[in-house]
């Protein structure tokens, strides 16, 4: 009986409370905490604090904020472009040498050619390729990115760009998830968990793929080196290649904003939700943690996932290249069949075939293309030297500047890789949104390349 009386008394008192009593409770908690902090914490004249403020004023300044951001992005991409090349060649020759030894061993043991081919030229070569193409850029990109993250710079990026996202009905933290997407779109999709509003989180998931990931950098780098930076050499060439990748990235960001806006106006109608973002103080990055996070957590994790999908893809590629059809092979026949549609998009059949095969892992797009173009029976690097690649593509297979530009656009906009698609399903738990994420990106890629091809041809540039 007494318990009941207490409950009644509580209900009665509750009705007399002012609506802001919760604010008062939190306020008293803060006051108490401040009292304790003042007793326990002594602060010397705070020079670090002033320094922090100076940096903050600079990197978020109305004048310098955006240029500094772009410059940092360009530097990170340039480091990746110019550094990855060297390491990539070394790893490739080592791994391919191992492959040759394995093939020789199998040969000596009189194992049938198709087993040797399937295992060493198919599965192993697929793996070796993904490792040698993907590992070096990741080893440079992820630590660089983790340093910026650890410093506390990334929230400032979100702060600088939030206005654009607000106008597209999205959340400023989407900028952070996109930055993550540079490393790996699957990781980018997972990182959208930092956005509270379900509507804005879905927008971030569906548009994350418009940021080119590490796996797509090699295609962009090859194209910009061979076509855009063709007349230059050494340092200048790497700067120009990096600059054109930056331009492609900015086009991707523009598409992200455009698509966010379209989604807000159509399928994901709604108001921008409350936006609060804490800008943490700058911290000196911890070297060991950076190495651990970027190499173990990110690089190896992403690489392992890519290898799981690259092995079967390598096997399929080898089968396509070694099943004879008439006097060519299956790969060539499928490419011929896809050719009319490819040409409509300003691409060609080989490129489309490479993208279909590369759904599991985008890293193998270039080697697959080279394999079909040169008629080889396994993935190859193609001719050494940019001039030779240029000759093979332009004089051998009718590429134009339009092909190069449209391939860059297609690489930027096309559907997510298998890993990302699976991740999108895991995060949304919905077939509808998973399928839509593919339809939106692939549709955009086809539409945009078709438009540029048609306009270019009408103007007589094709």
């Amino acid at each position: 009986m007494e318990a009941n009386e207490i409950l009644q008394k509580a209900a009665q008192l509750r009705s007399g409370l002012s609506t802001s009593f919760r604010d008062e409770i939190v306020k008293s908690l803060y006051t108490e905490a401040e009292t304790i902090a003042r007793r326990a914490v002594k602060s010397a004249a705070d020079r670090k604090y002033d320094f922090d403020q100076k940096i903050d004023r600079l990197v978020t300044s109305p004048v310098f904020g955006l240029p500094i951001m772009l410059a940092l992005l360009a530097v990170v991409i340039w480091l990746t472009v110019s550094g990855a090349n060297v390491v990539s060649d070394a790893i490739a020759s080592l791994l391919f040498w191992v492959g040759d030894q394995g093939r020789a061993l199998f040969h000596a043991l009189h194992i049938p050619w198709w087993i040797t081919g399937f295992l060493w030229d198919g599965v192993y070569r697929g793996l070796a390729w993904v490792v040698s193409v993907m590992l070096p850029p990741m080893m440079i990109f992820f630590p660089a990115f983790t340093i910026l993250e650890d410093l506390g710079y990334l929230p400032r990026v979100a702060f600088n760009l939030d206005w654009l996202y607000r106008k597209s009905g999205a959340h400023g933290k989407q900028a952070l998830t996109m930055a993550m997407g540079f490393g790996c779109n699957a990781a980018g999709v997972v990182s959208t968990r930092i956005i509270d509003s379900p509507r804005e989180r879905l927008i971030a998931i569906l548009t994350n793929n418009f940021v080119p990931c590490n796996g797509r950098f090699p295609t962009l780098i090859m194209l910009s080196t061979v076509f855009v930076a063709a007349g230059f050499s050494g340092f200048t060439a790497s700067v120009i290649a990096a600059a054109s990748v930056v331009v492609v990235v900015m086009i991707g960001i523009a598409f992200t904003l455009l698509m966010s806006w379209l989604l807000t106006k159509t399928m994901l109608k709604g108001e921008a939700s409350a936006f609060t973002l804490e800008l943490p103080p700058y911290r000196v990055p911890n070297v060991w943690r950076i190495l651990y996070t970027s190499l173990i957590d990110r690089t190896l994790f992403v690489l392992w996932r890519a290898m799981q999908t690259a092995a079967p893809a390598g096997a399929i590629i080898w089968i396509l290249a070694n099943v004879p059809v008439g006097n060519s092979n299956l790969a060539q026949s499928i490419a011929d069949w896809l050719n009319p549609f490819g040409l409509l998009l300003g691409l060609d059949g080989v490129i489309l075939l490479a993208y279909i095969i590369a759904i599991p892992a985008n890293e193998i797009v270039v080697p697959t293309m080279m394999m079909v173009y040169t008629g080889a029976s396994m993935m190859i690097e193609g001719p050494s030297g940019n001039q030779e690649i240029f000759n093979l593509l332009v004089h051998g297979h009718g590429w134009t500047m339009l092909t190069a530009i449209n391939l860059m656009l297609f690489a930027l906009l096309h559907n997510p890789c298998a890993t990302t698609i699976i991740t999108i399903y895991k995060e949304t738990k919905s077939y509808k949104w998973t399928i839509l994420s593919v339809v939106i990106t692939l549709g955009t890629a086809i539409l945009v390349t078709f438009l540029t091809a048609t306009v270019a041809r009408l103007l007589g540039w094709g």
Binding site: A11, D23, Y30, V63, E278, L279
Partner: protein, 334 residues
Amino acid sequence: MSILVWLIVATIGAVALFFPGYGGLAQFAAWRAMRQRELVEDALKHLLDREQEGRHATPQSLAGTLSANLAQTIKLIAQMESQNLVESRGNEIHLTPEGERWALHIVRAHRLWERYLADEARMPLQKIHSEAHKREHHISQAELDALDAAMGYPTYDPHGDPIPSREGKIPTHRAIPLTAWQAEGPARILHIEDEPAIAYEQVLAAGLRLGQVIRLIEKTPTRYVLSDGENEFRLAPSIAANVHVAPLSETEIARKGAVPLHMLSDGQKGEILLLDESVQGFTRRRFLDLGLTPGALIYPELKNFFGDPRAYRVRGTLIALRKEQAAQIWVKPL
């Protein structure tokens, strides 16, 4: 042979139709019972509405609200009389104490759901009414008590309508329609009628919200012009009748001179006075967690290329807020 096939088909069909609990007929019966219950509950709400306005419902008014014809409505009233929910006196229909209890439960369910959808699910205000209307019929007393407790026993719904307590007590309202507002001074918007939906959307579209302090600066037969000191809002008189206001209390008048946070100029210090009443639930907790509590010192520190959002220094940390959020925090410039 073919007879056997038909027999099997007929058996399957019969089972699908008559299976207790899951068959087509059982499903249909359940759906009809649910539909009937929704009708009864909507009728009860209408009766309660009328009684709170000090008049009584008639079969005609009820038919209008339910968009049913008179014959159906009279049948419904007869059914409700047999359940001892209402009693007819002449052309008037009165709620019995039993009917009133049930009606209050529905109103409480509706308004608590609205509170939940607006604060925790953060649905746009225009959409919460129809969603709450669907949900109000599917919640038991115990579930409702749990919802009420989880939300911290709110007293008003997001439109400013009072939420009845578990015992059926309704907090009193002292707001009057804007059309009856005579005073010169500032007034606080305490209630925005959410029916009809079109009128409600117009009020929201004009930029008015609950808890806002406004001043009536022009009143003509064709339009009402309000001002919050920064923006002007224009309303047709029929729409203005849906906005209910009350004079500011004395402490509120003492707080005059408070400005929304985004009005502070660079480096100008302010003291947080209060968080706007329109911020509730998740967003309010987030604000408080970040240290944006009454009494805290705050000043704008960073501004980017676009001028929005801005970052404010409070309790030693930097918090970026969009203009819409900063406008919900009232500060006293120092």
